[in-house]
């Protein structure tokens, strides 16, 4: 039974913390006077008849998954730190190779444009942006996000968005589409 | 080591088939034909040489010309060929029928299709391997492989329902082989379990025969039934025959010839070599069942044949009767009966093969098999008529032709041990004469119909094709001694083997004197030079 005591304690602690948080916000927070307008969306305007569809870009899921990859890397790094002395060089090498694997996945994600954001990217994707993938382009994208690349010059006029467009999704291998459409 | 003639006999047609398949498209049209026919004739030469060189006499009852190579070593499987008196003439008929069958065109116009020639050669190779194989695995493979070329040969025919017939043929025999498959494996494993430690388990027929006869009787009977079902489907014995009329009628002429002349002998040969020889006691116990099926087949096949309105179907049902006759002979367990059965297999190949060939000739002239449409051919095509008559009389069993010898031996031999079945089978011989002669009358006699007036007589090519068959028919009829002297020693030993296995079976007058029965079973088969060691091991460890 003794061995389960810490678990029980943690469980109790968690319960106390959860209940305590609610109680504290109840007690300490301001108490607005509630009325129907106050409870409506945006506290004003026409109340919607039905639940508006919740729309999330697929990109969010993608990001969530990318997060998990790095999360897992961290999860494995913790035990390494704890056991570092016992594992010695072997552990270090193993962890390094593990980190390398995760890094390769990261590099792949970047090259696929998974970390490129902004409307410029979307515009680029639609038009089939010129393929600008090379070792240097990938590395540059990682190291200096936002810096305009030479290939990005057609979009330079659009300022901030241009950089994102440069890294336009490489998923479409078509040749350069009419650039005027994009710029226009 | 002497010239491996049996390997050549098995592999030569296969090589020719490969060569035909690989011929370039631009090759002259006649080349495949001459390649196929040429290899068939060379094959026939080899086989005839084997027949001539085959040693006769009671000291040569075992397998001759054996050739043995390890094949699937870990499983005790070897490439093991050999010929004895029982298989010798079946091989000879095979070699004789195939070139003739290949020369017949599956369709009346155009050259011989290459696919037809190729499949026929593969079929010949597989049939040869089945007859010559002394290894159960090799036998099963060859037995199964006949299905694939058989399927395509039937598919190459002209019948309207040939695809149906081909598939039915394939599936029936495939399902039957399932039992053979299980049976062979079970025999092998049961025998292997009883072998003395250290002696290698093997699929070769000598090891199996030695071990199998000492298995518990119930096991033996089950195994024999498993083997029997497969062979009965192939033969086809009566309740398993329904694929046969379709297949024989839908196949092209050459296909029908080899299907009826050779392929069904695989079943009859199989029941003798791999059924009765391996499980003699069980065979004795189950003989009434087999004899009944055979006798029913004789009567039923004859009656149904008599009712047919289609000439080819009539001949096809005639083979059902013929098969029944052979089975009646084999399960008489007398020297005469079994010799007669073997001779009947050979005869049947010659006469039914010849009949199918002649029916094909009629069809080429009239494009029909309907008996109503034919009639009076004798006047317009006298040579065809006379040849047809000769072959038909051979099938009926006229003294002086080959059929007589076989039928006489079968009936004599079986009458000694199983009287009433022989009596029923005799009625079948009578019925056979009725339906065949009636058919002859309807096709050849009477006034020639107007449509039949203009047909030509046999061409020289056709005469050349039927001539070897006629020669065989007459030769065996007037001088069967070379045949019998080669068959008899092997059969004597087989009968001795059966008596040794089941001493309670008294075979009253087997004609060869009871001295031979003293031969212990382990000497039933002359042990070829290469297998002495394993034979010695087997002998030492016998329970």
């Amino acid at each position: 039974m003794d061995q389960y005591l810490p678990l029980l304690l943690i469980f109790a602690l968690g319960l106390v913390f959860a209940v305590g948080s609610f109680a504290a916000s109840r007690m300490l927070g301001p108490r607005p006077r509630l009325n129907p307008a106050k409870l409506g969306p945006f506290e004003s305007g026409i109340a919607p008849r039905r639940e508006p569809p919740a729309r999330f870009p697929v990109r969010f899921y993608l990001v969530a998954m990318i997060f998990i990859i790095f999360d897992i890397e961290i999860v494995f790094l913790y035990p390494l730190a704890v056991m570092f002395n016992q594992l010695g060089l072997f552990g270090l090498v193993e962890m390094a190779s593990f980190a390398l694997v995760v890094f390769v996945a990261f590099a792949y994600l970047v090259s696929e444009g998974a970390l490129d954001w902004g409307p410029g990217k979307r515009a680029g994707s639609r038009s089939g942006a010129p393929v600008t993938r090379s070792v240097s382009a990938t590395v540059r994208r990682v190291s200096r996000p936002g810096a305009p690349t030479p290939q990005a010059s057609p979009w330079a006029a659009r300022g901030g968005e241009a950089a994102a467009a440069a890294g336009g999704p490489a998923a479409s291998p078509a040749s350069a589409a009419p650039k005027a459409r994009v710029v226009g | 080591m002497s010239f491996p003639i049996l390997d050549v006999v098995v592999l030569l047609p296969l090589g020719a088939a490969l060569a035909i398949a690989l011929l370039p498209r631009q090759a002259p049209m006649a080349l495949p034909k001459w390649l196929g026919l040429g290899s068939g004739v060379v094959e026939l030469g080899f086989v005839l040489w084997t027949v001539v060189a085959f040693k006769t006499g009671n000291n040569h009852a075992g397998f001759q010309f054996t050739s043995r190579e390890p094949w699937f070593g870990p499983l005790g499987i070897s490439w093991y060929l050999g010929v004895d008196g029982i298989s010798l003439f079946l091989v000879a008929v095979t070699a004789l029928l195939f070139p003739i069958a290949m020369a017949t065109r599956p369709s009346p116009e155009g050259a011989l299709p290459r696919s037809y020639l190729g499949w026929m050669l593969v079929l010949e190779s597989a049939c040869m391997a089945s007859f010559l194989s002394l290894d159960a695995f090799l036998f099963f493979i060859a037995f199964e492989v006949t299905l694939v070329p058989g399927y395509f040969v039937i598919l190459g025919g002209l019948g309207e329902r040939r695809a149906y017939a081909a598939t039915k043929f394939f599936l029936y025999t495939f399902a039957g082989s399932a039992f053979l498959f299980v049976g062979i494996l079970a025999t092998y494993l049961l025998v292997a379990a009883r072998l003395p430690a250290g002696s290698p388990a093997s699929f070769d027929i000598i090891t199996l025969a030695r071990g199998a006869m000492h298995l518990p009787l119930a096991d033996q009977e089950l195994l024999l039934v498993a083997f029997g079902v497969a062979f009965a489907v192939k033969m086809p014995l009566v309740p398993f025959h329904t694929w046969m009329p379709d297949a024989y009628t839908q196949a092209p002429t050459g296909g029908s010839m080899v299907l009826s002349g050779i392929l069904f002998k695989l079943g009859a040969y199989g029941i003798l070599r791999w059924g009765i020889f391996l499980f003699p006691r069980a065979a004795v116990d189950l003989a009434p069942l087999a004899l009944t099926l055979g006798a029913v087949g004789v009567v039923w096949g004859s009656v149904v044949a008599a009712m047919q309105r289609d000439l080819k179907r009539l001949v096809a049902y005639g083979t059902v009767a013929g098969v029944g006759f052979i089975v009646v002979g084999l399960f008489g367990f007398t020297v005469q009966g079994i010799t007669g059965g073997v001779v009947e297999m050979v005869n049947h190949g010659l006469s039914i093969g010849g009949l199918f060939l002649l029916v094909g000739m009629v069809w080429e002239r009239r494009r029909t098999h309907e008996l109503d449409q034919l009639g009076g051919l004798q006047t317009v095509a006298p040579v065809l008529g006379w040849v047809f008559m000769a072959v038909l009389l051979s099938a009926v069993g006229l003294p002086g032709l080959n059929g007589f010898i076989g039928e006489l031996l079968v009936l004599l031999g079986t009458f000694i041990t199983h009287r009433w079945w022989a009596v029923v089978a005799t009625s079948g011989a009578l019925l056979g004469a009725i339906y065949l002669l009636w058919a002859y009358q309807r096709v050849f006699h009477g006034p020639a119909k107007a449509v039949n007036a203009g047909i030509r007589d046999m061409t020289w090519g056709e005469r050349a094709a039927i001539a070897p068959l006629l020669a065989g028919i007459v030769f065996i009829g007037v001088y069967p001694q070379p045949l019998l002297s080669r068959i008899q020693p092997a059969v004597d030993h087989l009968v001795a083997h059966i008596e040794y296995a089941d001493p309670s079976l008294k075979i009253p007058s087997s004609g060869q004197g009871h001295g031979t029965f003293a031969v212990p079973a382990n000497q039933v088969v002359d042990v070829p030079a290469g297998t002495t060691s394993s034979a010695a091991a087997g002998r030492g460890g016998r329970p």
Binding site: A170 | P74, V145, E160, R162, A163, L171, L189
Partner: protein
Amino acid sequence: MTIFAGTAGPGCTISNLVTSEAKVSGLCTAKGSLSIPVEYRSIAPVLILGVAALVLLVLSATLPKRRYPGLWAGLTALAGIATTVDGIVQWANLDNPANTALTVGGQVLYDHFSAFFAILFGCATTLGAAISDSYLSREALDGPEPYVLMLACSAGAVLMAEAAGLITLFLGLEVLSISLYTMTAYHRRRAASGEAGLKYFILGSFSSAVFIYGAALVYGATGSTQYFEIFQFLTGTVVVHDGVLLAGMALLVAGLGFKVAAVPFHFWAPDVYQGAPTPFVGYMAAVAKAAGFAGLLRALMLALPTQVSSWRPAIWVLAVASVLVGSVMALVQADLKRLLAYSSISQAGYVLIGLQAGTQAGWSAASFYLFTYLFMVVGTFAVVGLTQGRGEVRNDLGSIRGLGQRNPWLAGGMLVLLLAQAGVPLTSGFLGKWLVISAVIGKGQYELALIGMVGAAIAAFAYLRVALLMYVPAAPTPARPGQPRGEGGGEPAVAPTGPGAPSGLAEVAGDLEALATAGLGATATAVALRAPSTARLRVPRATAAAIAVCVAFTVFAGVSTPVLSLAHSIGLTWSL
């Protein structure tokens, strides 16, 4: 973790099972430090495949993004060949029994079985890559991703075969499964592909959960997840109340039975086979089945041989159901890929027949069967991938019609592969069935042997139907008898044309059709007989080579001994 907990007791005794004590996990000998001696040669196949996957990823991230025809497939095939070669080298190395070992912290078995399956999965990867390339470029799907998935999948499969415990087995299973889910759904523009992927994913995750639950119950009953520790526990202990153990075994069998598509866990297979990209189906049918069976063989024969009387009836039922349901259902399919799916279910039944024998003979028979089935199924699906046309528009039986005239060599190869699956002699399929059936007859189970062979005869009709359709003229559906008929384009060489021939092309073709569609529903018949174009198919070189290899191997393994001896000498090295 169990390795730490168990080392003091059973862990050390394991070493007695192994010929050389020094080779066993260092956890016993070196308790002070936790360094795990990794014998890299034992996991070399996994490393080769995994590193190849990473190399592909790096290349795709760094190379300028454009099409590289053949590059990705070539690299994948290269990795596959490397794996095969490595497997062969390891095999030779393992011929010395002293090299057989339990390595990597007791998680990996280094023995002939592992090497054999490394060779198997290496070949599968090579062939899979070879047949995928042309398909992917035809469907405009090319890129490195499917190959990365394929390599990862193979790595997982090898791991499953090498696993020395249920946890490692599960690890391999998940790597394999997740790659396969994605590969199934890879055809982005085909709704069926996505649907199949989702179905496979949901059912597959469920089965993984079932499996891990089973592993947990077995752990609960025996105190370990390592095969040898389970075995030792069960030999040393009489389990009186074995409910938990039985439930655990049942769940393990169910979880892996799903992977190998054994009836009644087969419902996903037809849908997934139908929807997934065709070359991937060939790869999947070979690899997922082989890996699932490798895991099942190891788990049942190494960990639970003492419970054989408990699991044999269950496997018996699965085997019979798979053989019969697979064969019978294959008869009524109008879709070629579905037909092959049911056929693969029935083939799984034969491996199960070998497995349930629970003997050395059954063990090597199952291995041989899986190895030869790989070549048959990959070759078959490669041909289907060619006949279906761009966009997988035609998967029905009719698509293969007339192939005998259009591409005689392709049809000939397909014929050999189909006959091999039907079990016709002189092909590896026959030898596989021979070994499996001989294994059960050796156990005296004649009824099972007969059921198996009857199933083979039923299935033969399904294969024969496809074979027959290949030789039906590809001409448009001919007119019914009585109507005037024209001479069709693709006239067979053997069809009569002469005046007065009682049967013309139409009737003959009609009969072939009638037979080829016997037993199908009316709609299915109509679909199956829609004639394909009579144009000759263009066969890409890599695919042609892969099919040729498959056919050649199928015949080679059917008539010669090397593969047979290989499978035969996979000993139950570890059994006591």
